[in-house]
């Protein structure tokens, strides 16, 4: 079998595996739903994930240990990950192949020449690493924006699969929503479509992971190269060169993604994978020192520049409600990859990719939007923390979330607090009974309690004509049938109150209580249970907000005040 065939099988296999791990990142009890599938395996393999978090946190997070294997293998063999494993790379290669079918050989060779601009990806890498590297200034992990594994993960999890699910319902019972999905798709689609201009455009010019692997493959023991300094210079080897690394001449070895197409295409078997450098010459990473310094300094300064907004300090936006177990914001942004796994696994779809409300660096990080999904954050679920690859959301237990067992003294994890908007709440401002929020509050005792009150309805003071048995005849006209719902009462001048059972336009029937002997006027009152939040009990789960019948802007809303993860946002004494 040709080595390129083996490579294609490898790419297909890993792409299928990636797709499978995307599909199974769904809560449920079917075999194709989340059992013990290692759904983060690709993210854990990604050395840039490991490097980024090492720089931002100073620690090598245990579950990322697979990345070390990739680093070691890259040091020995070169960028095999790009050419053989990376699912995003496989997509690029395939789309590039589709886009270049039928083109003349000379045209293909021209497309695959080495371009000086391929050094941009190193600058991208160094910029992002600079952003993460100085905790004393402001360390922010932004590699996930362009790191291919988080990028392709979130594109599949939050956009492509949900789109596929519309109408087919393959992986979810009902349509799933992701608020900034369009932007994720735009980035993904742009990256993929650029292959029609130059094959593997993303890999050659942008990919920071590829750049990192290129740098560490500098001392690789085996490398592609020519066995003779001269050949007939037919350049057939560059016809399908994926890396754009110029194997025909002085090979830019850092750009080589080990596709082995050159080795296959050379009719004279002059190109081999060998332990010596190409006899036609070899160039290492080709990037100017000035560029490196400039992008590193830019990155180092970019992080504190973004922080000038104060969004990670006192100017934090109250709508940034993070999932249960999320670290405090400064620590959170050092770890979150924006990979979207938590948003995909969340059974209620309440976790959403943020816009820039949490600051520029918070783009696509997880926030809770209780208006989306099937329910707020359910008490008996900790799925998001279990799947987070970098522990930006800690893997908490149900006991810790609920403040049970050994966590009883700490109390439940609060995501925020529910605030009643009395100007929009039906019982508070419209004199309509409701309390759906109280009904669905899952905490025991309920965090939402009611203050019960009687209020006279509009035009509700009517003069009495006659009192007979259990009915009141009145002098003026009232809407027939309106007050017989069990929520209305008749208040008499002596302070006694009777429940209204029914009414016509001129009489009121009483079901409970005794009519006074005589009355001149009667007030029709509605009994209202007005919801109030017990700040000590409320966990900010958002079920009340989700269920509130005031559907546009909810009359009860969660904001992040009082969230457990930040001491400086506490509200309770």
């Amino acid at each position: 079998m040709k080595i390129t065939t083996v490579r294609r099988i490898s790419q297909l296999f890993f792409f299928a595996l990636f797709l499978w791990f995307c599909i199974v990142a769904t809560v449920g009890d079917k075999f194709w739903q989340i059992r013990n599938w290692p759904i983060n395996w690709f993210l854990q393999l990604d050395p840039l994930v490991a490097l980024g978090t090492i720089l931002s946190t100073g620690k090598f997070y245990g579950p990322l240990h697979c990345a070390l294997g990739v680093v070691i293998l890259t040091i020995i063999f070169g960028r095999f990950f790009c050419g053989w494993i990376c699912p995003f790379g496989a997509i690029h290669q395939f789309v590039g192949y589709l886009g270049n079918r039928g083109k003349k050989v000379a045209e293909k060779i021209r497309l695959n020449i080495y371009r000086k601009a391929q050094c941009v990806k190193y600058l991208v890498l160094i910029f992002f690493l600079g952003m993460a590297a100085f905790p004393s200034l402001a360390s922010s992990l932004q590699t996930g924006l362009l790191d291919p594994i988080p990028l392709v993960t979130r594109s599949f999890q939050l956009v492509l699969l949900p789109i596929l699910d519309r109408g087919t319902y393959l992986t979810s019972v009902n349509a799933r929503y992701y608020e900034f999905g369009w932007l994720i798709l735009a980035v993904f689609a742009t990256a993929v479509l650029l292959n029609l201009i130059i094959p593997r455009f993303y890999c050659r010019f942008i990919c920071p992971l590829g750049a990192f692997l290129a740098i560490i493959s500098r001392f690789s023991i085996w490398r592609i190269g020519k066995t003779k300094p001269q050949c007939i210079n037919c350049k057939t080897c560059e016809k399908s060169c994926e890396g754009g690394c110029e194997p025909s001449g002085n090979i830019k070895i850092a750009e080589c993604v080990l596709c082995f197409n050159c080795r296959d295409d050379c009719k004279h078997d002059l190109i081999v994978y060998q332990t010596v450098s190409s006899l036609a010459g070899e160039t290492q990473v080709d990037v100017s020192r000035r560029g490196v310094v400039l992008s590193f300094v830019s990155g180092v300064l970019a992080a504190p520049a973004i922080r000038l907004s104060g969004k990670v300090a006192s100017n934090w936006y109250s709508g940034v409600v993070r999932p249960p177990g999320a670290l405090a914001e400064p620590e959170f942004v050092k770890r979150c990859l924006k990979c979207g796994q938590c948003m995909r696994v969340c059974p209620t779809n309440v976790i959403q990719p943020a816009g820039i409300e949490g600051g520029l660096e918070g783009l696509w990080t997880p926030i809770l939007n209780n208006r989306i999904g099937s329910s707020g954050c359910q008490l008996n679920c900790v799925a998001c923390g279990q799947v987070c690859p970098t522990s930006a959301i800690r893997p908490i237990t149900l006991d810790e979330k609920g403040g049970l067992g050994e966590f009883a003294s700490a109390g439940p994890i609060k995501l925020g607090i529910a605030f009643v908007d009395q100007g929009r709440c039906l019982p508070w401002s419209m004199d309509k009974p409701c309390i759906v929020c109280q009904e669905d509050c899952p905490v025991s005792p309920k965090a939402i309690f009611t203050k019960d009150t009687f209020t006279t309805v509009r035009d509700g003071v009517v003069s009495v004509k006659k009192l007979t048995g259990d009915s009141i005849e009145i002098d003026q006209s009232i809407p027939a049938g309106k007050f017989g719902t069990g929520d209305y009462y008749a208040l008499f001048e002596d302070g006694s109150r009777c429940k209204i059972a029914s009414n016509t336009d001129t009489s009121i029937g009483i079901s409970e209580g005794k009519l006074p002997a005589s009355a001149g006027k009667v007030e029709i009152q509605v009994r209202l249970q007005r919801p109030c939040v017990d700040i000590e009990k409320c966990t900010g789960c958002g079920i009340c907000e989700h269920e509130c019948p005031v559907t546009g802007k909810r009359a009860i809303r969660i904001t992040a005040e009082g969230e457990t993860r930040s001491k400086d946002r506490r509200l309770l004494l």
Binding site: N174, I435, D440, T485
Partner: protein, 344 residues
């Protein structure tokens, strides 16, 4: 060189070719024009939607649900069984009413509507206990010779989580029932004739498409807005859309649901009663052992009796009298001579 005044012979070939081109293009242009005019004519709407009589619904309305009830037998309307073992008390309660054979005929397709509103484990009593579901599904299959039993609800929390965490999915599947999760497409707009609230409102109709029997199985729970959530309130789970607006008139919506839905049988599980913090509960301290299972053909009677387990009077539940006036059932359950038994 050509003479300046010489007339060239016409290039017949070229002219013919040009004529052919013109004819072909002309024919295609005519076809295109005809197509454009045809489509315009076909889709032509002179007044727009607003000018028409506003349709009641865009989707085609469903008029009511089928009547799933079986002929009434005086003296066998409601049974109340004391005991702790739900499987035994439920079976006994049904037996007292004439056995499952009275309700389920061979070949029936039965829908069971438990309360699967919340994603909490069964021990917290916020959802129908799986043991009752197992017992009833088994009865339907084994003695009733039902063809198929469907267990479904439109949950409040995430449906998949509710069915899994409550243990209902597992129990129902193990007993051979089909568990149906709600999908957006399962709801059809429905209007209750004589009702004032259920008008062109999405109702969970799809599971009933082929069913001919319906059994409601509800836990017995405190409810701050409606005082109690029992067999009648259980039908709230069949409403779709932003159903919570109906909390403004909770008593009438419960009564209208009871008018709309004519079940074969309802079962009220008062083995434990959620005395406080309902209908979600959340702690076993909200529960009280009341060791009672009620089976009834009359849901008003069942709920009227059930209110006593919550230390309430039927008058505390205005929806009971509203439903009684509408002819749904009898508040005075003693007048129906409940059949009583105790199983240990």
């Amino acid at each position: 060189m050509t003479e300046p005044n010489q007339i060239n012979p016409p290039d017949v070939g070229r002219i013919n070719s040009a004529r052919r081109q013109l004819l072909i293009r002309g024919a295609k242009a005519a076809a295109s024009i005809a197509a454009a005019v045809g489509v315009a004519r076909w889709l032509y709407d002179p007044k727009g939607l607003g000018a028409k009589k506003v349709p009641d619904t865009f989707f085609g309305e469903v008029k009511g649900l089928p009547d799933f009830s079986v002929p009434r037998k005086d003296g066998q309307v409601i049974s109340i069984v004391q005991g702790q073992d739900r499987a035994k008390t439920a079976s006994k309660a049904i037996e007292l009413l004439g056995g499952i054979e009275r309700f389920i005929s061979p070949g029936d397709i039965v829908v069971i509507k438990p309360n699967v509103g919340f994603a909490t484990p069964s021990i917290l009593g916020a959802t129908t206990h799986p043991d009752v579901i197992t017992a009833v599904v088994k009865l339907c299959y084994e003695k009733g010779k039902a063809k198929k039993v469907i267990v479904t609800d439109n949950s409040i929390n995430d449906p998949a989580s509710c069915f899994t965490i409550s243990g209902i999915s597992k129990a129902a599947s193990a007993a051979g029932a089909e568990v149906v999760m709600p999908k957006d497409s399962y709801f059809s707009p429905l209007t209750l004739e004589g009702g004032s609230l259920i008008k062109d409102w999405p109702v969970y109709c799809a599971p009933f498409a082929k069913a001919n029997k319906l059994i409601g199985i509800a836990p017995l729970k405190n409810h701050h807005r409606s005082a109690a959530s029992m067999t009648m309130k259980n039908w709230y789970g069949l409403l779709g859309g932003r159903r919570n607006v109906f909390h403004q008139d909770i008593n009438n919506i419960i009564a209208e649901l009871a008018m709309l839905i004519k079940p074969t049988l309802v079962i009220l599980d008062g083995t434990v009663t959620m005395m406080t913090n309902g209908p979600t509960g959340g702690s076993v301290s909200d529960l009280k052992k009341t060791n009672t299972m009620i089976a009834s053909c009359d849901m008003v009677a069942a709920d009227a009796f059930g209110s006593s387990l919550l230390n309430l009077k039927p008058a505390d539940l205005p929806y009971l009298s509203i439903a009684e006036k509408a002819g749904v059932g009898a508040v005075d359950y003693e007048s129906l001579k409940p059949l009583r038994a105790e199983v240990i």
